[in-house]
């Protein structure tokens, strides 16, 4: 994990001092509301329906046990005892008081954390793969690159007043778990024929009102040119992105209007001037960034003995066997595995955790995973380096804390935005829909039989729940003041990113579980041996699903 040095700490202290001063001037009436707004947003502070919300940055999802404990303390002291992990690997507090926010920032700075650029029209938290560094299918560890991009983008003086927010994601493996194609910039680490490392650069992806899958403008950008190339993209966007209409201000609109080819050519022209300039990376920069992401001190594990322990427990306890099947992932080091902690038990808003749970995660990370945890964009957590032999004990501890719901990657592992319960932009509630679906499909055998399936819910077209790229996507819509839900299928967030297709007219909330059941029935009837939901959809198309969902009751 990246460790702060004196310069990083100095920067954070200066940031806290700056924001304290800005808040004081605002509260005294010396800083007008409209000017304070971008400043507080760039510090992650929203004013939402019920109270302010503070979004704290977790760079590319990596967090240490001591940081988790500090978050627990903040939830307890300044909030109502809970917090919320987001789809961008960050964490949010929903009830902080504005005058206390500078104190919260000081508490965060003491553990090298902050809320810098977690909102506002700037470059946001860099996101990545929660299995970075341990995934068997990894080409190259993305974390050092995330860190280099994080530093470059932090307080970048030219890009703090962009036309709109800007999100960058980095993937280092063959199967993209960071959803890079739905980001403003997606960076894919690749190796060329000669075995040299480079970046395939996607631009213009994004969801919201106008969902777009990103397009490639750079097939192979050499690592040392990464930052100057990014700077060229950002400069073209900063200069030519629309500013007259916030719904048309994202880079995706500029890329669409110009076409990816023209956009890419403009970037290349700008880059000619920046290339080899002062932001060019050196071998020393690479080495510095890489030294923080070395493997932890893995022990030589007696793999056969560990497997025997695990098998014995699985034979004795069905629940453990199920958890093992869904919540434990392969690791490139023999005898180790990654464990996903589910934050999706039925009846809890996806991603919510209490202060006590945060403390418990910190203890488990210390005990079983080298003191580190990771946040996933599915709003779960990962302990990345667990000895296989520890799985039974870890499972019991997770069960006691409510993190062992064995449904990772299934229909029940829903991504869901805060929706109408919390968000002033909502057309409809979303959390109760997630809960109704979880209750309807609570039979684990059925969920497992359905296999890998993503279901995403957003309470309005801003698409915070990424409904466009869920295999099943649910969108809250408002019809003459009443809440309805539009359902789409066929979306995908990974390497074969695709937007879902709307099935047809929308439904009342109570109808939603039944509609989902019909969609699932079509899949079960039509699937071929071993086919996942999305594979069946790709083969049979949307029509059979439409026919079933809108069939007149016989």
């Amino acid at each position: 994990m990246y460790l702060y040095d004196d310069r990083d700490r100095c920067l954070l202290r200066e940031r806290v001092r700056q924001f304290r001063d800005q808040t004081t001037r605002y509260l005294q009436g010396d800083l007008p509301e409209d000017q304070f707004r971008p400043l507080r947003l760039q510090n992650g502070l929203y004013i939402q329906r019920l109270a302010p919300m503070l979004r704290v940055s977790i760079p590319y999802g990596l967090i240490s046990a001591s940081q988790l404990r500090r978050l627990a303390h903040i939830a307890r002291t300044y909030d109502k005892g809970y917090a919320h992990f987001t789809t961008r690997q960050n964490i949010q507090f929903n009830w902080p008081q504005l005058p206390e926010v500078p104190d919260i920032l000081a508490e965060l700075a003491a553990v090298d954390m902050h809320a810098i650029q977690t909102s506002g029209n700037c470059i946001r938290n860099i996101t990545s793969d929660e299995f970075a560094g341990i995934a068997p299918d990894e080409v190259e560890d993305p974390r050092p690159w995330c860190e280099l991009v994080r530093r470059w983008s932090t307080f970048h003086p030219e890009f703090a007043y962009l036309p709109r927010k800007f999100k960058i994601a980095v993937s280092g493996s063959e199967s993209d778990r960071a959803a890079i194609q739905i980001h403003d910039i997606g960076l894919q680490l690749v190796k060329n024929a000669a075995g040299a490392l480079g970046f395939r650069v996607y631009v213009g992806g994004g969801l919201g009102r106008t969902p777009v899958i990103g397009e490639v403008i750079g097939e192979f950008i050499e690592p040392r040119h990464l930052l100057t190339y990014l700077e060229a993209i950002l400069r073209v966007y900063n200069r030519y992105g629309r500013r007259d209409n916030k719904y048309k201000a994202r880079i995706k609109i500029l890329v669409k209007v110009w076409g990816a080819e023209v956009f890419g050519a403009r970037v290349a022209a700008e880059w000619q001037h920046l290339k080899d300039g002062p932001n060019t990376l050196t071998e020393a920069d690479f080495a510095h960034a890489r030294q923080f992401f070395t493997a932890p001190a893995y022990e030589a594990v007696d793999v056969a003995a560990a497997d025997a322990t695990v098998s014995a427990c699985a034979a004795a306890e069905r629940a453990f066997a199920r958890w093992l099947e869904r919540n434990v992932r392969a690791h490139r080091v023999p005898g180790y595995c990654a464990v996903v902690l589910s934050l999706k038990p039925v009846g809890v808003a996806p991603g919510d955790v209490t202060d006590a749970q945060l403390d418990a995660i910190a203890d488990l990370a210390d005990r079983y995973a080298f003191g580190e945890a990771r946040v996933t964009h599915h709003q779960n957590l990962v302990l990345a380096d667990v000895r296989r032999g520890d799985l039974p004990a870890l499972w019991r501890a997770l069960k006691a804390q409510g993190f062992a719901t064995p449904t990772i990657g299934t229909l029940s592992d829903i991504i869901c935005c805060p929706g109408g319960d919390f968000c002033s932009l909502a057309n409809a509630k979303s959390i109760p829909i997630a809960e109704a679906i979880q209750r309807e499909f609570d039979d684990l055998d059925y969920l497992y039989d359905l296999g890998d399936l993503t279901l995403n819910i957003s309470g309005c077209m801003n698409a915070c729940g990424h409904h466009h790229v869920g295999n099943i996507g649910i969108l809250g819509v408002d019809k003459k003041g009443e809440e309805f839900y539009q359902i789409q299928i066929g979306g995908e967030a990974g390497s074969r990113a695709a937007l879902g297709q709307v099935l047809g007219p929308s439904f009342y909330a109570p109808e939603v579980p039944r509609v989902i059941a019909r969609i699932l029935d079509v899949y079960v009837q039509r699937r071929l041996e071993g086919e996942t939901f999305i594979e069946t959809y790709r083969r049979v198309g949307v029509e059979p699903f439409k026919d079933s969902v809108y069939a007149k009751a016989a």
Binding site: R7, L11, L227
Partner: protein, 156 residues
């Protein structure tokens, strides 16, 4: 009257923006020519001394258009139509880093003190601020950070 912050103090402004429809151009006055005026009368204006010849660029105007004449200007003012419009930050860096402008680079229009630090890092060295701006606040804001993670324009 806005105040001009330069070299850490409020100073008397020597420059005046020429009205687009001004009939007469006084020789000795330090004037900022709106880009269209400069482009239209360039041949005649080239005779002026750079010490009192400047340009006033609007947010949507391209610094590329004055690149060839850049050393003929003593001052370039970049206008920020609203404080949320960040194009001027790119404009500043281009003028300094790409076109090598060495004169006074002034941020004018709808800017506020909390932007000063970034403006300076984008090459600006003079700032037109509202009349009621406190000098202490402005100085604090200019020096908000002593550490930077990326290369940009750093004040001499």
């Amino acid at each position: 009257m806005p105040k001009l912050l330069k070299a850490g103090s409020f100073t008397i402004d020597a420059w005046r923006r020429l009205d687009a429809d001004a009939a007469r151009i006084a020789d000795g006055d330090a004037l900022l020519f709106p880009l269209p005026v400069w482009l239209a009368r360039r041949d005649a204006l080239l005779a002026r001394d750079s010490s009192h010849t400047g340009i006033w660029l609007n947010g949507d105007e391209e610094p590329e258009q004055i690149a060839a004449d850049i050393h003929r200007f003593g001052c370039i003012a970049v206008n920020f139509p609203t404080f949320m419009d960040g194009r001027g930050f790119s404009c500043g860096r281009l003028l300094r880093e790409r076109y090598g402008f060495r004169g006074e680079l002034r941020a004018v229009g709808d800017i506020f003190v909390d932007q000063l630090h970034f403006l300076r890092r984008c090459g600006f060295d003079a700032f037109e601020l509202p009349d009621d701006t406190s000098l202490d606040t402005a100085r604090n804001c200019l020096d908000a950070f002593s550490v930077h993670y990326q290369a940009a324009c750093n004040p001499a």
